[in-house]
Structures are given as C-alpha cells and as structure tokens.
Amino acid sequence: MIKISDINKIREDFYLLKNSDLTYLDNAASSLKPQQVIDALNYYNEKLGVNVHRGVYKLSYEATDLYEKARQKVADFIHCKFKEVVFTRGASSALNLVASSYGMKYINEGDEIITSELEHHSSMLPWQHVAKVKKAKLIYVPLDAEHRITIENFKKVLTHKTKVVALTHASNVMGYITPIKEIIKLAHEVGAVVSVDGAQSVPHMKVDVKELDCDFISFSGHKMCGPTGIGVLYGKYKLLQSMDPVEFGGDMIDYVYLQDVTFKDAPYKFETGTPIIAGAIGIGAAIDYLNEIGFDFIESQESKLRIYALTQLKNIEGLQLFNPNTDTGIISFNIEGVHPHDVASAFDQENVAIRAGHHCAQPLMNCLKQVATVRASFYFYNTEKDIDNLVEAIKKAKEFFDLFK
C-alpha cells in the first residue's frame, strides 16, 4: 500500500517531476508517463519489435502474449471479460465506434438520443452525426444552475423513444461526476443503451463496469499514465457481437471470398490490421502502475489537493471560478479582464502548465458565456507545492496585467 508520505518516491518515476521545476497541471489533457511504462514500451520496441497473432516464431508469440495479456489487464481493471475489451486509437475513436457501428445499425427515424452540453465534442458529435443521417432527435439534458447533469433533469428528457444515452462520466471542464449509475438504471427501464465517456473518470477512480451496468465505456491511455495512440472501448459482449465492423481488412476476418466475407468474433472484428501492439502493452503497464499506486491513494491525494486549491482560489479577488463545487481535480477559472490565452503565457513563464481554450466543449463555453477558460487539472503525483505555485502564478499574472489598466 502506497502511503501519502510516498509522494516523493512516486515523483521519482516521472522524468519531468524529478528533473525540472515544472508545475504540471494539465493532466486532463494528458498525464505524464512513468518510467515503468516507458520501460515496457522499450521492451517491446527493442527486444521484440515484431508483429503478432500470425507468427509461429518465439518473438512473435511473446509479442502476441504481451498484447493479449494487456487486454486481460484492462478487463481486470474495469471488471469485465477479456473479450469485451476492444483496443482503439483513443477515447475519441472508441466513442465513434459505438455511434458508427451500434448507432448506425439500431437508430431509426424519430428515435431519440440523449446527450448533454457538458460533453466533450468526442462524446456528442458522433451522435449529432448519427441523428442527422438517421433523422433521429438529439436531445440535451438541461443542465442545472451549476451546469451539472442531474437525475431529475435526466428524467425530464427520457422517453420511450430514447434509444441511446451518451453522457460523460466526469466532465473535463467542470470536474463534475455524473450520477451515471442511476441514469443507466433509468435508461435501461425504457430499453435504451448507455455509452459512457470515461476519459476523465477511469484514470482517477475505480470504475467497475459490471457494477455500473453500462453498455459501453470509452477511455484513453494517455490520460492514465499510458502512451498516446491507444484507447479502449468496453462493450457488453452481446452488444459487441450484434454490431457490424466499420473497418475491413487483415486480422478481423475468418473467410474471405471475392464477393463476400465472414468476420471473427468480437473484439477482433473491430481491430482491423496490425494492432496497436506497443500501445496496448503500454496501457497494460500503465494499469499495473496505477494498481500499484492504488485508487485509495489516487482519490485521497486528488481530493486533498482539490480542497486545498479551492480554499485559496475562492479568496482571490477578480478570479472567476466556474466550478467551486468540482468533484475532481479539475478547476476552471478566468482572471477578470485578462484573456485566458494571455494568462496561459504568464503562467508558462512561471513554469506552470495549464490549458487555456474551449477544452473541446464549445457548447459548455456558451453556457458559461466564455470564449475560453483556464483549466488546471491534478493527478496523484501533484502536491500542495504545485497548488501554491498555481496560486502564486495567478497572483503574479493579475499583478502584471493590472500594470496596464
């Protein structure tokens, strides 16, 4: 068991945390990658480097074994079956797969699809497209005064026409946790399937797909200590089996005839061509790493930092805090009269890395009446010192831009 006092040992695993004075608070965009993950990638790239699945020689067998063991690690991590794990290029790709395969097959004219203005573009746009093509209705859960998805408001839009519910588990701008378990229960009562965007939840909390009973969940490696270019789609096996592949070619077929073809079972029918071998091994190593840290530590560290940060930020005059009741390590704000882009440059001078922009959530920016916000986001390797640096950077930026008032 990792103890809070071990934080410095944890930081040793990350090159930049060990060797620079970077205050890294852009974790909702990408997390840093620990040495353990880099070692796993190097092992494959250096000592194996070969293709999988069809090689009879030892190296290829070992690569295949590592690739498929990574799938098992993912399955154990989110508590599903081996064959319910589809490797994709990332969360966006996974979310799109649900829409283009399940959605395009099962959504018909007049059907209703529920999403929200809190979504990342990658969660809602695939369904906007399905709705357009299929002449279905895309319906937005009204957000409450805080811009949260609530069960009450969800009930207002759920009807017997609802076929799909596509909602985020944790908002990448507001840091809110959606009451997704209850929503799933309600959706199932009307026979709708639920596609959960887990990009911001899976890295930060224990997500048990069987307990949630979600139909699909999508997430990315690069936000959970893994590499870029790999993500996961979990789907209930019966649903995956009922769906058609969207890419065709090598590795996903049984028999190919000149004018016809039969496909492998899921998950393989969705993994066309040479797989993302290093990426899968990398996300497997990231899961090993997170398991070693443990979600007890991760959650308590992030909640400690959240409280510490909010207490201070609330007291800074001229700071617009958009989510004072955030549930996670994501905090969105603006400095009055200063454009977020200018804030970001000022922070960069202090080596405080945050993100300024619309965070792929333009509809939410409209709700907040902002063109962009500054977002600071923590992970388990951040410390109170990082928060202090953030607060210092805010104060200094305010002071600096005040000079020109």
């Binding site: 882009h341 200018d342 000022a346 001078q349 922009g357 600096f400 020109f404």
Partner: protein, 154 residues
Amino acid sequence: MSYGNLETLYRQVIMDHYKNPRNKGLKDGDDFYKIHLKNPTCGDDITIQVKIDNGMITDVYQDGTGCSISMSAASVMSETIKGKTVEEAFKILDNYLNMVKGEKFDAELEMGDAIVYQGVAQFPARFKCATIAWKALAQVMDEHNGNCTCDHEE
C-alpha cells in the same frame, strides 16, 4: 517583482492598442476587400476591411474578439499599412513574419509600432495570435493581385 520574459512580450504599446484599438469597427460599402479569419481553439475571430486605390492601401478597418496579442496586432497592422502601397505592405508583412518567427529580419525597415512584437519570437505558442491579422492582410492583397487564395497554405 520581476516578470521575466513577459515584459518583452506585453509591451506598453501593445496593451495600449489592446485597450484602445485603432480603426476598429467595420464599414458598409463594397469597395472594400474583406477577409474573416478565426482560430476557434482560443476564440480569436478577426475581420479586416481594406480599400486599395491604384495600388495604394487607402483605408483599413478591423474588428473581432480575442486575446491581447491578436487584438492589438490587428490594430497595429491597420495603422502600419495605411498609406502604403501593396508592394510596401508585402515587404513589411514578410519582415514582420520573419521577426515574430525569430528569424532574420530587417530592423531598419520602417514598420511603425509593429516592431514591438519582437518579443513574440520567445513565445512561439503565441505566433498565431500575433499573425492572424497579418495573414488576413496577406489574403486581401493576394486577392487584389489576382492570386487564388482558396487553397492557401497555412
């Protein structure tokens, strides 16, 4: 307190143009070339209007929303190129782009307040902010010169 490099980027002149933009607001009339450019990522959105008479830029207006660098640059650009020939404006434009990229540029070339954007070279992430208005100008002048801009390289 030292603000380090920040002071080389945010010069008083720049912030003046940001707070008090020159030639702001669009005009009616179809004797203007008009170009609208945007960078949705950060919300920058700029329109410029340029009147060109006999190869001479006689009038410039600009409007939009964005950060201090992009907004001030639009204002500075409008001042700098008014009264210049298209040829002269192209020279200034090229020189300006070289300067903010941190490449070799002619420090002697008269370019008005635009010279204070030298600090951008140390903030490559702000290059787009400093150039969006100038890129709009380039498109205007290309159009005026009869060069197709539909397939314009970034």
